[in-house]
């Protein structure tokens, strides 16, 4: 079993940083900003009534999806839960198709039928967001099994929350992946809460990776506010799985800056706690680091932010001007054979 160190400082991650080319660092920065702006715009559109249903924002957790998926190969499959906008973007779905789905348009990633919680693009090997807590974990195990069965390369990356580690599906899936030696990277995004229930009020163990210990699954815990650290952990764990063909459990410690979903009264946490975490804003920290180490100037990064602003504007324009699904769509795509 090998375990990565918890809490590598930015300076230490420098080694990894040096090895990254500037283009990739700018891409990472761009993507995280894109996710943040998309979420801010989505919240705005929700308040205007242009987005309905539930809306779970990824703000604060951007470094997890961006760091993790920056090193995945096209043959690696991705699964996540309903907090899926950031994961969708980091999996390669264009912002306009995410936005159109949020507005229920025919041009959306899931043709307007899934909404915020159910984005997917299987051509990109992003197999979707799932709203029943833990229900995608068995699917991930099954996909990894299919790849292995056919002798195909590829790791299945399955993301889920801290809350999901308390449901039966989690344990059944982890166990099966060990018993069957399945190439799955289980990624727990520990953002400290499942709705209003803190980890300590819901889980018998403090660190989610301890649950993997029970299945003798190699595991580690990393700082999810540091995109470079997440990226390095992803690189190491994915190559471990590629070499051994067996699962690995990665706990990524992060925090959601907003409520669980829109309209959460947030009675369960102090605003001081949120402020404390905001000091570790994954985007702010990365920006400071890029500037301080002289990789990019503040002006260069601001220019990148303007590009993102335009991208979001265009995504909203695309979504707003897209048509609703036609009435007959109600009956489409239910059975493969009509």
């Amino acid at each position: 079993m090998f375990t990565l160190a918890w809490g590598i400082a930015m300076a230490e991650a420098d080694v990894a940083l040096k090895a990254l080319d500037e283009k990739e660092m700018l891409r990472l920065y761009h993507e995280m900003i894109l996710i943040r702006r998309l979420e801010e715009e989505a919240a705005h559109l929700y308040q205007q009534g242009k987005i309905g249903g539930f809306l779970h924002l990824y703000i604060g957790q951007e470094a997890v999806a961006s760091g993790l998926l920056s090193v995945r190969r096209p043959e690696d499959r991705v699964f996540t839960a309903y907090r899926d906008h950031g994961v969708a973007i980091a999996s390669g779905i264009e912002a306009k198709f995410v936005m159109a789905e949020l507005m229920g348009k025919a041009t959306g990633a899931s043709k307007g039928k899934g909404g915020s919680m159910h984005l997917a693009d299987v051509d990109l090997n992003f197999w979707g967001g799932y709203a029943i807590v833990g229900s995608h974990m068995p699917l991930a195990a099954g996909m990894a099994m299919a790849d292995k069965y056919r002798g195909d390369p590829g790791v299945t990356i399955c993301m889920f929350g801290d809350g999901a580690t308390n449901i039966g599906y989690f344990h059944e899936s982890l166990n099966l992946s060990m018993v069957w030696d399945l190439p799955v990277l289980w990624v727990c995004e520990n953002n400290q809460y499942g709705m209003g229930t803190s980890v300590e009020r819901a889980s018998a163990v403090e660190e989610m990776r301890q649950k993997a210990e029970g299945y003798e699954m190699p595991n580690s815990r990393v700082n999810g506010m540091n995109v470079l650290e997440v990226r390095r952990a992803a690189e190491e764990t994915l190559s471990y799985i590629r070499e051994n063909g067996t699962p690995y459990f990665l706990e990524v410690v992060t925090y959601r800056f907003q409520g669980h979903s829109m309209g959460d009264p947030e009675r369960y946490r102090e605003s001081d706690e949120v402020d404390q975490w905001r000091e570790d804003d994954p985007i702010g920290m990365f920006r400071t680091h890029l500037v301080d180490t002289g990789v990019f100037s503040a002006e260069e990064l601001s220019k990148e932010e303007e590009l993102v602003d335009r991208e979001i504007e265009q995504a909203v324009e695309f979504a707003e001007s897209s048509p609703n699904p036609p009435p007959e769509a109600l009956f489409e795509d239910i059975h493969a054979e009509e």
């Binding site: 249903g53 899934g114 609703n324 109600l330």
Partner: protein
């Protein structure tokens, strides 16, 4: 009598039963600190404390299973499943546990559990979060299934459910928490397994429950403007199913429409219609009509979702067709 909301009525019933009987406690996801995702248990945590208002991990199987066990040991758990869609994760404990264990062990113990949950579509939550699978639960002998349509019945029936020695599934509708109605102050209990006339009329009999009742009442107003008077029978309870008042009404109207929010096939309407044909065939002057949800997984898009859900206009049309 005071007009209060469905939310207040359910909350009052729970509160009063917890005050009355120390064996009663609530458990479920976000029932405590959060105050209930639909705010039904707001204030309970501070008043009754963490022992009696128990936040659980996200683990529906053990929520119902542990509540079954506590009930078998003599407590009176009100286990909350945040929505009925998550009841599928607890299906074994409901179907093989709550509904059967007493009978299977020859009646040696009781299982006085209440499973409080909420279903219903129309809120753009997508296919897995918008279901109305009430009929599924009514399929199982051993389980009592209540689905109130008014605040008055919600309060009286929830109290009856908590006092019942038998397992009860109590199904609310997520779009009805703001629905208002007259509810008396203080204690009263409504009988389980007895349907109720909610509006009088002699032209057509509408048999319905829960959200279907609210839609049917609106349809009745529209129809009355055209001189058509419908009699509305509210089932209130899907198991045991009481069709006495429906058949009484049918003797005068000779026409029946059944309204439910869930899917048509194998649904509440299917059961009610076949019982009407079995027990009241001679009184029928027209085939029974069913108004139900279009048989598709509900889509997120608002227009498509509304197309699939039964609407007031569908009920009006069905009544006109049987006339």
């Amino acid at each position: 009598m005071a007009e209060i909301t469905m939310r207040e009525a359910i909350s009052q019933a729970l509160w009063e039963e917890m005050e009355r009987d120390e064996r009663v406690f609530v458990m479920g996801e976000e029932v405590g600190l959060w105050g209930g995702t639909y705010a039904v248990t707001r204030g309970f945590y501070d008043h009754f404390g963490a022992e009696r208002v128990r936040d659980t991990p996200i683990a529906e199987g053990v929520i119902v299973g542990a509540a079954n066990g506590a009930a078998m040991a003599g407590l009176r758990p009100v286990a909350e499943l945040m929505t009925i869609n998550f009841a599928f994760l607890a299906m074994d404990q409901i179907v093989n546990g709550s509904a059967k264990l007493r009978a299977m062990f020859g009646g040696q113990f009781t299982i006085p559990i209440v499973i409080r949950t909420v279903g219903g579509g129309g809120r753009q939550l997508g296919a897995t979060h918008s279901q109305t699978p009430d009929a599924v639960f009514a399929h199982f002998p051993g389980l009592t299934v209540i689905a109130p349509g008014t605040p008055y019945d919600a309060k009286g029936l929830l109290k009856a459910a908590i006092r019942s020695e038998d397992p009860v599934m109590f199904i609310e509708n997520a779009t009805m928490y703001q629905t208002k109605g007259e509810v008396p102050e203080g204690d009263y209990v409504e009988p389980i397994g007895v349907s109720k006339v909610q509006r009088k009329g002699s032209d057509v009999t509408i048999v319905t429950y829960s959200k279907g009742l609210q839609l049917s009442l609106q349809a009745a107003d529209q129809l009355a403007a055209d001189g058509v008077e419908v009699q509305i029978i509210d089932l209130r309870c899907l198991r045991p199913l009481d069709l006495g008042p429906a058949i009484e009404s049918l003797k005068r109207t000779n026409r029946a429409v059944i309204v439910e929010e869930g899917w048509r096939s194998y649904g509440v309407g299917a059961e009610v219609a076949s019982r009407l044909y079995e027990q009241a065939f001679d009184y029928l002057d027209a085939p029974v009509k069913r108004v139900a949800q279009v048989e598709v997984p509900l889509p997120y898009n608002r227009e498509l979702e509304q197309m699939a859900l039964p609407q007031v206009g569908d009920i009006v049309r069905a009544v006109q067709e049987v006339l």
